[in-house]
């Protein structure tokens, strides 16, 4: 499954509003597939958000976070700043995306 990161960073009332939607199943390891077999646990367990290369927020989600995690943050900055998100899953898979503040 393609694991996309949808990002949007916009200036609003003098602050950067960052919104993210990550496509990820966030399997808890307790769900069964159609054949009745347990689906292996697979979830994002580390997310980092940085601005212009400086670390801003570190997230440690558990498997109890909903599928397709949606994140929202506000931070100081100006338009044109470079916001980057990178995540790592418990299986070692990773992905990242950067976006410019509008």
């Amino acid at each position: 499954m393609a694991k996309k990161i949808k990002a949007r960073a916009k200036m609003k009332k003098g602050l950067i509003e960052v919104k993210y939607k990550i496509t990820h199943a966030m399997e808890t390891g307790r769900r069964k597939d159609k054949a009745g077999n347990l689906v292996a646990e697979e979830y994002i367990n580390h997310i980092k958000i940085s601005k212009n290369g400086v670390n801003m927020v570190t997230l440690t989600p558990n498997s109890t976070i909903s599928a397709n995690p949606y994140l929202f943050f506000r931070m100081k900055g100006a338009s044109g700043d470079d916001i980057k998100l990178s995540w790592v899953s418990n299986t070692g898979e990773k992905n990242s995306a950067s976006t410019k503040v509008k």
Binding site: V57, T58, I65, A67, L71, M75, V88
Partner: protein, 148 residues
């Protein structure tokens, strides 16, 4: 997946990430908190048993959630000074700690919003780690259809 295999995969992930040392170290520290445990133990492990309640920490979670697989939860700690991190604890979940948010810079507002899975009606607690100790606040959410 049992604890042993979970640890093995985590270790495998840590080795794969060996280029990013601080990251995997952090993952190991957090690993214990993210395991199955009682919610009270999790709160005590985070706060060391010392915490105060405050109205300045605002936790928003619906009183009645129709779909337990996507319950929007938001924490607003902007009224508190020096917030280092925020934890969300869903009491009735097998793994109670849903999310840990670390604010690495003062430039980020101490606000977090995301969607959490909830198995059944539960108490939700937010813990904020501030420069002057731990602050908690709780609310209850009823879930009509569990999603865990």
């Amino acid at each position: 997946m049992n604890r042993r295999t979970a640890l093995k995969t985590l270790l495998g992930g840590a080795i794969a990430l060996s280029g990013m040392v601080p990251l995997s170290v952090l993952a190991n520290v957090n690993n214990k908190l993210m395991e199955k445990m009682a919610a009270i133990d999790a709160i005590n492990a985070i706060t060391n048993g010392k915490h105060t309640t405050s109205d300045d920490l605002k936790l928003q979670s619906p009183k009645l959630a129709e779909n337990g697989s996507q319950v929007p939860v938001s924490v607003n700690a902007t009224a508190l000074n020096g917030v280092k991190s925020i934890f969300i604890i869903v009491h009735e979940n097998i793994k109670p700690v849903a999310m840990r948010v670390d604010f690495d810079s003062d430039e980020v507002l101490a606000y977090a919003s995301f969607r959490v899975k909830m198995g059944k009606p539960t108490k939700v607690t937010a813990i904020a780690h501030t420069s002057s100790g731990f602050v908690t606040t709780s609310t209850n959410t009823k879930v009509t259809k569990g999603g865990c």
